[in-house]
Symmetry: D2
Subunit: 150 residues, 4 copies
Amino acid sequence: MEPLKNYPIRFQQDVVWGDMDAFQHVNNTVFFRYFEDSRMAYFEKAGVMEFMQESGKGPILASTQCRFKAPVSYPDRLTLAGRVETMGSDRFVMKYLVFSDKLQRIVAEGEGIVVYYDYQASMKCDIPSAIREAIVTLESECGNQAGGFE
Amino acid sequence: MEPLKNYPIRFQQDVVWGDMDAFQHVNNTVFFRYFEDSRMAYFEKAGVMEFMQESGKGPILASTQCRFKAPVSYPDRLTLAGRVETMGSDRFVMKYLVFSDKLQRIVAEGEGIVVYYDYQASMKCDIPSAIREAIVTLESECGNQAGGFE
Amino acid sequence: MEPLKNYPIRFQQDVVWGDMDAFQHVNNTVFFRYFEDSRMAYFEKAGVMEFMQESGKGPILASTQCRFKAPVSYPDRLTLAGRVETMGSDRFVMKYLVFSDKLQRIVAEGEGIVVYYDYQASMKCDIPSAIREAIVTLESECGNQAGGFE
Amino acid sequence: MEPLKNYPIRFQQDVVWGDMDAFQHVNNTVFFRYFEDSRMAYFEKAGVMEFMQESGKGPILASTQCRFKAPVSYPDRLTLAGRVETMGSDRFVMKYLVFSDKLQRIVAEGEGIVVYYDYQASMKCDIPSAIREAIVTLESECGNQAGGFE
């Protein structure tokens, strides 16, 4: 699981039977739920939701994608991983991995672009410095530069 | 579709492929989504959500059940139906039906108990009279007594 | 967690952020997914799915219900529990519990009636004796009579 | 709705209350369900599923992405649209649009790469000519070249 090593978010989640579709594999939409689980875990570690409640500035998912590498089926235990790969002034790019215990391989890779938004002003805004620093710290703890900031 | 006739809420919804599970039938949890769709359509007609925003008094689902009469599969067009069967002082009972166009039969029947709650006071409350009257009107338009009020 | 003690199925599952609805609580349909997770874990322990592949005889969920005792929100860790309470000739009744770590209480209780079906013959059938024995064993290991068979 | 005109698949679907998440907007994963609905409707028109049952050759979703243009909330009526933009020897690229009746604008755009797979041989295969022709016909009916085939 080399490539998972430098992801600040790594946790296990069992595949749920009901997430399989009529083709008897985990449905494609569920992988975006996995990504969301990683994203929310990351946000919690970086204090994103607390900051949003105080300041009215929070993240919006602007786009996301997934490459499906192998079908997943119940029962299996997955490792979900998330990291911030690059940061711009008002946005950052997250990378996600899904690793299957049963298949012993990465079964899906994804990305998401997260934009910062000022809900009071109803417009995009810069990533607040408290959040930016939290992200840099989380990434550097995993040996990442977390940025090559734009 | 005789039995649907006296349901104030009746609308059609196509079965979605991804709602089927690995047994190639619509998953049991989805029927509770269908019930929720009927419940929300009813709430809209009775002004429940608007009243909640003004008054802080709104509905809570206390319990629900479903009897599955026949398996449903994609493609199919369903008729979802909802009505209020009885009202007490602080709660009412909803009945739901799901009718399959393809099978030409009722495929699921359900019930839900909805309790009124005062979110300001953090306690149960009586059904507001505006809501009670709206429900009586909706039901009587379908020839229902909507009550045999407890 | 006294009442969980005599449930053969007990496992933990973290609440997923995306399972909350616009009322900021875990949506009612998700509790039936939790019940399904317990049911599938039970089926696995009792060899239900393997037996079905060999014999063409398997379980069908005939009805299910849930009583919601307290709203659940992210983040939280739930304990999901399942047991077979009574068995008839061609059906058994499962009981489900959902316990919240954060609230330190049972947040939902449910039941489901599972009927045995012979997919070859397209009709109901008796619970196969291998399955019946597996259930009795699982329940007796938790001190349950698992039956008072009808 | 100019841009929808040259999509062979166009159908309406009401937003479901329960598809909103705790941010009170339709959750990001649901847009991939919308895309799947368009894809399945396209597959039905092109005879993809029937051909798969006869031949054992069928489609696999290799990757997908979505750009979220505006948040969607209940109630709303969406138009879901899908088309095949390009075809290679063993794959084609689908484009998806989601148009909001309430906002009168496109709220999401997506893409998916669909690869043909021979389930008997357990390997990728060329798009069967019957399917290729059905796609060309569907696209040309909308004035599309459906290809600029690689």
